[in-house]
Symmetry: C2
Subunit: 303 residues, 2 copies
């Protein structure tokens, strides 16, 4: 072990060309990063944290942990129709990771760099501390105020859309096959869990969309957030919900970790599937029957 | 316990008017926060995390934990001569805090709101998860590129300055009297530890300063960072180092948690004390004798 500064060097090496460039004027190495903003745009910011054995298996390959951590965090910017720009990473590591030496953090950083390349963003700063494995990711982007996608713009009679197949990651968790032997040869369900795509690629398709958010806690619970913020109910058609191969309907409804977008729009949305309609009132129904919100709550008491 | 969303409500209640306002167009409640930026200014960003029994005693009053967490994180923006604007907080909590119910998180948020008021910033977003107590704080501000204070601008013969008395927080740790009975009646050393001031108030005094950073890991180690980044050495005068009441010279040299600024400047710096001079070469000396860098390293192996 090389101490804190050796670990930072190993992380910056793993990040490669993703630690600074373009709009990042000062990257890692000073007290803070410096970023140029685009005139007229709003800044968009969100923070997330991923914990071992809560948000990923402790024994998962570090490349996959890093990739997933960044994508999950940036999904909140996709949910605002924002263009992602940069992130900061706060990493707490304990003896388990330290025993694996700088290889572990370099591989983690390589996974982050891979996701950063896909999104066109930079990891321009961070922080290291010693403690139970915890990856905090603060994500930042820009959006035109006229284009921002809030949860509160929904209204009765708008169509409900999702941007891709649901339930794959939840099916991966349900089937328990979560630690791949070879990080470069994932099963389709492992791919859904470890390599989600934050749908920042769709921002230009969302011009006429009235409301939206990303599906992180399961379709039912996230639809509940949209309905409460918009003051309406919803009617879902189970046959219209696109399911990932290997996923059951309950994986899509009550699972999580999909990171597709749930959108409300009067007009059809390009690259999205219509799954239902917003309604008057507050009830959420599936094929006409009431649907209870059973999504993921980190703090719910069992039993 | 009210589950995740009840806890979020308790936190937002504790934040009061510090969760949104002024440049915060959308605060807590959507997928991300929206922030207006000032034309022509650079964005400045840093992330920090505070862990129980590493960065504060687990049994400390939550108001003080929250206050300290924000100030410590914003100190990195003061170190860039930036104007602080907003932060995001990622909070992991385990059964210990959950057993204390929403009172604990409300008090934590009230402490954060108090620090946010002092600095004139907002806590406009965050994230909750269940795990060992870990407070991640991502801090954001703005700076004119002409005014930014980097570590690398130092040169031989510039004076070295600090912005206040050092060693108080380290003396608090050393004397072991770290858990106050009454959070509103702290001893001077507890005050130094729990209620540091991120020196964002001094940005307008730093116009002629060539290099600087905040003193978080002890004067010697942080001076080492400045000297390495600037390619020079330093000569300190022990008698000139301002010590907090109750602090020894070693607390200032090798302790930490001061959050004053260490500055290099050709001209005198208002509201700062001259403690030495930058020199040619790479050696750091105290009263002419070599000084070993023994500051805090989270990952150094003992023995």
């Amino acid at each position: 072990m090389n101490g804190e500064f050796g670990l930072i060097d190993a992380i910056v090496a793993g990040l490669g060309d993703r630690s600074a460039g373009d709009w990042i004027t000062v990257g890692p190495g000073d007290d803070a990063a410096l970023i140029q903003s685009t005139p007229g745009m709003h800044q968009v910011a969100s923070i997330d944290s991923l914990l071992a054995d809560v948000h990923f298996p402790l024994s998962a390959p570090p490349q996959l942990i890093g990739y997933r951590a960044l994508m999950v965090a940036f999904s909140d910017l996709a949910a605002m129709a924002a263009t992602p720009r940069y992130c900061l990473v706060s990493l707490s590591m304990d003896e388990v990771q330290l025993a694996l030496g700088s290889h572990w953090v370099t591989a983690l950083a390589q996974g982050m760099a891979e996701a950063a390349s896909v999104l066109g963003v930079y990891v321009c700063g961070g922080n290291l501390s010693r403690g139970p494995l915890n990856i905090g990711v603060s994500v930042h982007g820009e959006v035109d105020w006229q284009q921002v996608l809030l949860r509160s713009g929904g209204a009765a009679d708008q169509g409900l859309y999702v941007t891709g197949a649901l339930g794959g990651a939840a099916a991966c968790v349900r089937t328990g096959n979560m630690v791949p032997v070879d990080p470069s040869a994932l099963s389709p369900l492992q791919q859904a869990y470890y390599r989600p795509l934050a749908r920042c690629d769709l921002a230009s398709d969302l011009g006429s969309v009235a409301a939206g958010l990303d599906i992180s806690d399961g379709l039912t619970q996230d639809l509940g957030h949209l309905c409460r913020a918009s003051g309406c109910g919803a009617a879902l058609d189970s046959g219209a919900i696109p399911l990932a191969a290997g996923a059951a309907l309950d994986d899509a409804l009550f699972g999580g970790d999909d990171y597709q977008l749930l959108l409300a729009s009067e007009l059809p949305v390009p690259n999205a599937h219509r799954i239902g309609t917003l309604t008057h009132g507050a009830d959420i129904t599936l094929d006409g029957k009431p649907l209870a919100a059973e999504g993921f709550d980190h703090f719910r008491r069992e039993g």
